[in-house]
């Protein structure tokens, strides 16, 4: 009697270079790209899908770098979540991404899971997405035909659906450093504090000049088929005075941007309520991070 999971028979392929990999997936049919494997290996075990070939990209040297450039941070798709968490530049310059990764999974999982995998798996609950949305991150998608760059928002098409063509892989995430003195905050509500999936998570980025909101960016996950920007809230705050009443009032409009469902983690109704509360808290938290206490 077999009392444990078995993965169906599969070919394992490990190209040595990015070029070799792109050529391989251009020819290959019926395959999945393996990076950290923390989602894919489980999916293979539970039979979510069957594939003939696995293409392991986790060791491709071209996909494993963190480059701190003058105006942007470039991250190879196969950098692990733990490597990002331990990166000084991420913590200092992109605290909203740091806070999101700090809330994700466990040490064991973060040592395997990659930022590219979190995006390509395209879960509506992907926790790296809200910070990348508010940071206006760009993704580099490559195939034998060359590279193209898409905004992270254009990458998510639906649950487990991305803008990747069959012969493309995500190779790099480019994050422009926020201009001026930007305040940032990530807040995640799970069913418990650690090692848990989001019920709702919110990322906020604010810029303030003379007590007036100059720029506001808010993104949420787990409340729509893809992570979403809360533009209804943003547009109601830009140009307005920084005050609690303005923040409270604008946060209610997050309901225009989300379309939550009920699932094992929470009901749609609860998610709607919590989206308002967490949007408000994330905006206040982002202001606090640059020394502003709204009243």
């Amino acid at each position: 009697m077999v009392i444990y999971y078995l993965i169906p028979k599969v070919n394992y392929l490990r190209p040595k270079t990015k070029e070799e990999c792109l050529k391989l997936i251009n020819e290959l049919r019926d395959f999945k790209v393996l990076a950290g494997g923390t989602d894919l290996v489980v999916d293979l075990k539970i039979g979510r899908f069957r594939v003939k070939n696995l293409v392991d990209i986790s060791r491709l040297p071209e996909l494993r770098f963190i480059k701190n450039e003058e105006r942007q941070l470039r991250i190879g798709a196969c950098v692990t979540l733990q490597e990002l968490l331990e990166s000084k530049v991420v913590k200092e310059k992109l605290p909203v991404l740091y806070e999101a990764i700090d809330s994700m999974a466990s040490w064991q999982i973060r040592n395997l899971a990659t930022i590219g995998g979190n995006l390509c798996n395209a879960s509506p609950a992907a926790d790296t997405a809200p910070p990348l949305y508010v940071l206006n991150a760009k993704l580099v998608l490559e195939s034998v035909n060359g590279a193209r760059v898409v905004n992270v928002e254009e990458f998510f098409l639906g649950p487990r659906k991305t803008a990747l063509k069959p012969n493309e892989i995500l190779t790099e995430i480019i994050i422009p450093y926020p201009q001026g003195k930007a305040g940032m905050k990530f807040i995640k509500l799970g069913r418990r504090t650690s090692f848990t999936l989001s019920v709702v998570a919110v990322a906020a980025l604010v810029n303030v000049e003379d007590r007036v909101f100059k720029d506001v960016r808010i993104a949420l996950n787990s409340v729509a088929p893809t992570p979403v920007r809360a533009r209804s809230v943003e547009s109601r705050l830009v140009g307005k005075e920084v005050s609690l009443s303005n923040i409270y009032e604008a946060s209610k409009y997050v309901l225009n941007d989300i379309k939550p469902i009920s699932d094992v983690r929470a009901s749609a109704e609860y998610r709607r309520e919590m989206s308002i509360v967490l949007t408000k808290d994330a905006i206040i938290g982002a202001l606090n991070s640059i020394g502003i206490t709204p009243s």
Binding site: Y4, Y5, L6, I7, P8, K9, V10, N11, Y12, R14, L34, G37, T38, V41, V42, L44, K45, I46, L54, D56, S58, Q82, A105, S106, W107, Q108, I109, N111, L112, S194, F195
Partner: protein, 157 residues
């Protein structure tokens, strides 16, 4: 498929299909029984091993992925029949009940203490959040890791 890697300091080679996990090969082909088959989906931490020094869940790693890597299991710690100070600390603090989760906890604790020899209680809790124990309330496990840190410091390790 032939896969070579270093297991507890010794080079090993296995010839197994690539759909087998590291957990499965360690237990069934290499006789490493400290690595426990728990949830098999990366949620319980009972199958924790150190891969190139970092704690990972061996149930989520396909065997060809460890080619040329270094894998450490609990067997590495109690050399020459002598328990490692972390193991002693787990016994002294009463952190072991049924014992099923213990190897995973000890390996995660080992990795933590190598990186951060004097962790705070909060840091211990955070590092161990990927290991689940269904017997204890975690208090004694956290006590054990803090005691182990003290022991290792006294031993100058």
């Amino acid at each position: 498929m032939k896969v070579k890697f270093k297991l507890n300091g010794e080079l090993v080679e296995v010839d197994v299909p690539p759909n087998r996990t590291l957990l499965d090969v360690l237990r069934r082909d290499l006789g490493i029984k400290s690595v426990k088959r728990g949830c098999e989906r990366g949620e319980c931490g009972a199958c924790t091993v150190l891969l190139n020094g970092k704690p990972v869940t061996s149930c989520l790693i396909l065997i060809p992925q460890v080619e040329d890597a270094e894998v450490i299991t609990l067997e590495y710690l109690h050399k020459n029949g002598k328990l490692h100070p972390i193991q002693e600390a787990f016994i002294e603090a009463g952190a072991v009940q049924c014992g099923f989760c213990t190897p995973g906890f000890i390996l995660t604790a080992y990795a933590l203490l190598m990186k951060n020899p004097e962790p705070t209680r909060e840091e211990v809790k955070k590092a161990l959040s990927g290991n689940i124990c269904r017997c204890t309330g975690y208090v004694k496990i956290i006590d054990a890791v803090l005691l182990a840190a003290k022991k290792l410091k006294e031993l100058g390790r």
